[in-house]
C-alpha cells in the first residue's frame, strides 16, 4: 500500500491513483509478427552496426581530421 502511494507521487496526474489502460494507445504497441515470407527481408533490414563498427568509424574520422 505505501509503495503504491509513493510510486504514484511520481505520476504526472496525481488526481487519480489508478493506472488506466488506454486501449488504443496499448494497441499501437502491438506490431504485426514476422511471417516466414518476410524473413528474407527482415534479414536484409537487420541493423548490423555495433560498437566496434562505430569505434572504427570514429577512429577513421579522427584520423582524417588529423
Amino acid at each position: 500500500m505505501l509503495w503504491s502511494v509513493a510510486l504514484n507521487n511520481f505520476c504526472i496526474d496525481k488526481g487519480d491513483y489508478r493506472i488506466m489502460i488506454n486501449f488504443e494507445e496499448e494497441l499501437k504497441n502491438f506490431k504485426p509478427s514476422l511471417e516466414v515470407e518476410e524473413a528474407e527481408q527482415a534479414i536484409y533490414n537487420h541493423e548490423l552496426v555495433d560498437m566496434t563498427d562505430m569505434m572504427q568509424e570514429m577512429l577513421h574520422e579522427i584520423k582524417q581530421g588529423i
Binding site: L34, D50, T52
Partner: protein, 452 residues
C-alpha cells in the same frame, strides 16, 4: 578473442601482436558485450524472457559477432512463439560464423519439420489478422481469432497479451487474468503482462466492491461495553430457518411433481391403456366378424344338411312307399287282403310316379272294398264282444280309409267303442263328425247328446 582489423588471435597485451592495432577499447567493448550476454543468460534461465531479450540485444549492440548471444536470442524468440525472428537471428549467426555454430543445429531442426513451420506460419498470419480486427474495432472477431491462434500456438506471448487487453476492454477481468497467467508462465517478468495484470486486478476489485456496496449495509450499536457491528439485513441461518427452508423446498418439489410430473405420467399411462383397449377392440371386432362369418357358414351348412336330410327322408319315404306298394301287390296276389290293405295305408301317393300311382289305384280299388269289409266286420265283432280295444283298432282303420263306410256305421261304432272303453274325450270328435255327416238320422240325436 580475435583482432577486429586483421583477425589474428589476441593476447593480454593492449595491441594486436599481428597488426599492432590498439585494442584496449575494443577489449572493453567485447567485455561489455559478454557481460550483457551473461545477464541475458541468467534472465533466460529464470524465464525472464523479455529481460533476456533486452540484455542480449544490448550484448549484440556492443558486439554483433557475439554468436552465443545471437543464438540465445534466437532461442528466446522461439520460446516466445516468434519463430521467424528466431530464424532471422540464427541465419545471421551462421553467416558470421559458418563453422562450429549451434545455430546450424537449430536451423536443421526447423528445416526437417517443414509442416510444423508452416503451421506456425499460419498462426502468425491469424495473429496479424486478429490485430487488424482490433484496429478495425471488431473486438469479437479478434477474440475468436486469437483463441484459435493460441490453441495452435500456446507459446505466443503477444497473443496472450492482446487477448488480455481485449478482455480488459470488455471488462471481463477474470478471463483477462487467465490469459495473462498463461503469458506469465512463458515470460515471468514481462512488463506488459504485469501491467495488464495489475489493471485486471484493479478492475476485479472495483467490480466486487460495487456488488458488495449494494448488499453490504452495516449497522452498529453499543451493547454495554461492546460495539456490535452487523449487516442491516441479517440473514437468519439458524436451524429453524434451515428446517423451514427444507420444508418449503419439499413442498415445492411435491407440488411440481404433482402438477407437472404425475399428470404427464398418468396421461401416458392412460394413452397406453386406451391404445391397448383400442387394439383389443380391434381384435374383438375382427374376431366377431370371423365368428359371424363362421356362424353364417355353419347356418348355411346346417341348412344344407337339413335339406339333405329332408331330401334323404323324402328318398327314404319314397323308397318306403314303393316298398309298401310292392308289399301290397304281393299280399293282394296271395289273397291276404288285410296285409295288402295295411301296406296300402302306408303308401304316400305323392312319392309315387304316374305308373306307380296307376298300380296303386288298381290295387287300392281291388283291396279297399274287401279290406274295408273285413275291417268293419272285425271291428263290429270286436265291439259286439265288448273287445273295445280291438274294435277301435279295426274301426279306426276303416274310418281312415272311408269315413262314410256303411252309411257312417263304422264312424258311429268307433265313437261308441271309445265311449264304452271310458275314453269319452276321444269319442266326442267322432260323435261330432257323425252328426255333421249324417244329421238327420236316428243315431245323430244320440251322437249329438254324447258329443256335448
Amino acid at each position: 578473442m580475435i583482432c577486429y582489423k586483421c583477425g589474428a588471435q589476441l593476447d593480454s597485451s593492449e595491441s594486436c601482436p599481428n597488426c599492432g592495432t590498439k585494442i584496449k577499447l575494443y577489449k572493453k567493448i567485447i567485455m561489455a558485450s559478454n557481460a550483457y550476454y551473461n545477464a541475458g543468460l541468467e534472465k533466460a534461465s529464470v524465464r525472464d524472457l523479455s529481460g533476456a531479450i533486452d540484455s542480449l540485444k544490448m550484448s549484440l549492440r556492443f558486439n554483433k559477432r557475439n554468436t552465443d548471444a545471437r543464438n540465445l536470442l534466437g532461442l528466446v524468440y522461439c520460446e516466445m512463439g516468434e519463430v521467424v525472428a528466431a530464424l532471422t537471428e540464427w541465419v545471421i549467426s551462421k553467416n558470421y560464423q559458418p563453422k562450429d555454430n549451434r545455430a546450424s543445429f537449430y536451423l536443421d531442426e526447423i528445416q526437417q519439420n517443414k509442416g510444423k513451420l508452416e503451421a506456425v506460419n499460419q498462426t502468425i498470419k491469424k495473429y496479424n489478422q486478429a490485430l487488424l480486427y482490433c484496429k478495425q474495432n471488431s473486438r469479437d472477431l479478434a477474440i475468436i481469432q486469437l483463441k484459435k491462434v493460441l490453441s495452435l500456438n500456446p507459446k505466443l506471448v503477444v497473443g496472450h497479451q492482446l487477448l488480455a487487453l481485449l478482455y480488459i476492454q470488455e471488462k471481463k477481468y477474470e478471463l483477462a487474468k487467465k490469459s495473462l497467467r498463461n503469458a506469465g508462465k512463458i515470460d515471468v517478468n514481462n512488463k506488459v503482462t504485469l501491467r495488464y495484470l495489475k489493471e485486471a486486478n484493479l478492475g476485479l476489485r472495483e467490480q466486487n466492491s460495487n456488488k458488495k456496496q449494494k448488499s453490504d449495509e452495516l449497522v452498529s450499536y453499543q451493547s454495554g461495553n461492546e460495539t456490535i457491528i452487523q449487516p442491516k439485513y441479517l440473514k437468519d441461518t439458524s436451524a429453524f430457518g434451515t428446517i423451514v427452508n427444507m420444508i418449503i423446498g419439499i413442498v415445492i418439489g411435491v407440488a411440481i411433481t404433482g402438477f407437472l410430473v404425475v399428470p404427464g405420467v398418468r396421461r401416458s399411462a392412460q394413452e397406453d391403456a386406451n391404445k391397448a383397449v383400442l387394439d383389443a377392440n380391434n381384435i374383438i371386432s375382427s374376431k366377431n366378424q370371423s365368428i359371424a362369418s363362421l356362424e353364417a357358414e355353419i347356418e348355411e351348412l346346417a341348412g344344407q344338411i337339413t335339406n339333405m336330410q329332408i331330401a334323404g327322408e323324402d328318398v327314404t319315404s319314397q323308397v318306403n312307399s314303393y316298398d309298401q306298394l310292392l308289399q301290397a301287390y304281393i299280399c293282394n296276389e296271395n289273397g291276404d287282403v288285410d296285409a295288402a290293405g295295411t301296406a296300402l295305408g302306408m303308401v304316400q301317393q305323392a312319392h309315387l310316379s304316374e305308373a306307380a300311382l296307376q298300380v296303386y289305384n288298381t290295387i287300392n280299388g281291388k283291396v279297399n272294398e274287401e279290406y274295408l269289409d273285413i275291417l268293419y266286420k272285425d271291428g263290429y265283432n270286436a265291439y259286439s264282444s265288448e273287445d273295445y280295444e280291438a274294435a277301435i283298432e279295426h274301426l279306426l282303420k276303416a274310418v281312415e280309409i272311408d269315413i262314410s263306410y256303411q252309411n257312417g256305421n263304422a264312424l258311429y261304432y268307433l265313437a261308441q267303442a271309445y265311449r264304452k272303453s271310458g275314453d269319452l274325450e276321444s269319442a266326442k270328435p267322432y260323435y261330432q263328425k257323425f252328426v255333421e255327416l249324417f244329421p238327420n238320422t236316428e243315431r245323430a240325436a244320440t251322437a249329438a247328446r254324447y258329443a256335448e
